[in-house]
Amino acid sequence: MSSFIAIIFIGVAVSFILGIKLLGSPKTARLGNLVAAFGMLVALITTVPLMRVESWNLNCTLIVVGTLLGLGIGAVGAYSVKMTAMPQMVALFNGVGGGAAALVASLEFLKRANSFEGITTFFAVTMLFATLIGSLSFSGSLIAFAKLEGYLEKPHTFPGQNILNGLILAVILGLCVYLGGWATTNTTAFIVLFSLALVFGVAMVMPIGGADMPVVISLLNSFTGLAVAADGFTINNLSMIVAGTLVGSSGTLLTLLMCKAMNRPVTNVLFGAFGSSGGGGKAGASDLGGKTVKPIQADEAALLLGYAQQVVIVPGYGMAVAQAQHQVRELSDELGKRGVEVRFAIHPVAGRMPGHMNVLLAEANVPYDQLCEMEAINPTMDRVDVCLVIGANDVVNPAAREDKSSPIYGMPIIEADRAKTVIVMKRSMAAGFAGIENLLFYKDNTRMLFGDAKASLQTLIAQLKAS
């Protein structure tokens, strides 16, 4: 690499660092993304002289066609996806990135294996790491995508699953030691390793419930970053090392932050297969002592809301599914016109990704200053007249505070039950993603407004406008 190209790559690295930094604040986030994208464009152009092709050949055509094809797929995916399906899209893009990382490492291995150039242990270690983590991220992300799309809604578990996974992992590690330690170019062993890594990605994500998919996607995102960094070592490209590592470490931290918000160690998410047993739900239900829920009709709910002074809206995944964010905004505007103070309480893990609710509400033009984080809203909850829970479940479950036997005990929640009246909009009495009964529904100050969130909201708005 000439020093001129090296200097450009330093600039590229700086653009990524600045980009991530700017992404961290609402005002500059969009600029940050553009800065990083610009750096990426420069990196791609700078790579052209590095390819050392004397004249146009088949490979050049393939590179151009492949890049344009990927651009087309990416653009169609990015612009046609509904805002509610955003997490799946990120999972998919992450998956193909992981796949590319694994392929790059494999090709470099095949090249070295066939050229009698031989491989060093350092090369073998980075190459194996990139192959392993990249293919695991590929298959894992596809499963995460399928789960979020609803193709594989139930967590798949069977007895001895962890043991089987452990066995696969042991074989993978054994093959790594063989290939890396002896620095051999045994292609068969390599192909077995590649396939097992794909299987392991599936086996790892399969038993994890849909509620934990944000954590999984975030983790796989950082995995892909690390795989790309390892590829950078393998093919000796500094900008790939820096970019991949930045993503790897920031993604790891993001994953840990998300687990912290759910009060669960990351190992529990990955190996606990929590949410699949259903045992917690039955235990919780027996404690209810024959309490029943109190339903409410839309007109009464409209009355309560219209004459309240302070209303807090707690959105959840149900709002995303019903595509009700625009109606939520309309309701909040209508209440605002009547002098009601409306705030939105956003739980860090509401929905399927951290910030999922923020993105949806932003799409519906809800101003930022109405969006409050959990820590800010909880101390004021006692003064709230009506707390309207729209399609949120586990994040408002008081069992996290009261029931020591509950699997979500200790998770920070939005303390909706402390409001004077709680109105819960829900399609049915089905349990949330954690698969446990929600004590909130049985509280004396809770009213249940059954029905599709969008339809219920439209009725509420009509009632408010009429009165």
């Binding site: 990524f16 991530i20 992404l23 961290g24 604040s25 986030a29 990083a36 990426m40 791609l44 790579t47 590095l50 390819m51 490979n59 393939l62 066609v65 492949g66 890049t67 344009l68 990927g70 651009l71 990416g74 653009a75 955003m86 997490p87 990120v90 992450n94 193909v96 990135g97 796949g99 590319a100 990382a101 392929l103 790059v104 090249k111 350092f122 996607i217 995102n221 892909t224 960094a229 590829d231 093919i235 490209n237 900008s239 790939m240 090392i241 970019a243 590592t245 920031s250 993604g251 790891t252 993001l254 918000a261 990704m353 951290p354 910030g355 999922h356 993105v359 932003a362 809800v366 101003p367």
Partner: protein, 94 residues
């Protein structure tokens, strides 16, 4: 100091930089941030281009081509989807 050590040095610094960069981000921006960093690891397209340029057989060409398509979808789709998310944050500023 050998080149390997120097590169490793940069690698370690980048780890810490990544941690520092993200620790002060409000949770509302976590989704765009995840999506944005997802696009940044799309730099693997660069690796795909390099290995495909050096490919000399049908198998390596085919695999390299897939790597380029994947990497390209990751990088372009990633940045576009992030921009689309962030556009919404910006629009409602009055």
């Amino acid at each position: 100091m050998s080149t390997e050590i120097l590169v490793f040095f940069i690698f370690v610094l980048a780890i810490f930089l990544g941690f520092e960069l993200i620790s002060r981000v409000p949770s509302m921006l976590h989704t765009p941030l995840m999506s944005g960093t997802n696009a940044i690891h799309g730099i693997i397209l660069l690796g795909g281009m390099l290995v495909l340029a050096a490919a000399d057989g049908t198998l390596t060409r085919a695999l390299g081509f897939v790597a380029v398509v994947f990497g390209s979808a990751n990088v372009f789709g990633g940045f576009m989807v992030t921009d689309r998310m962030l556009q919404m944050f910006k629009k409602k500023k009055k």
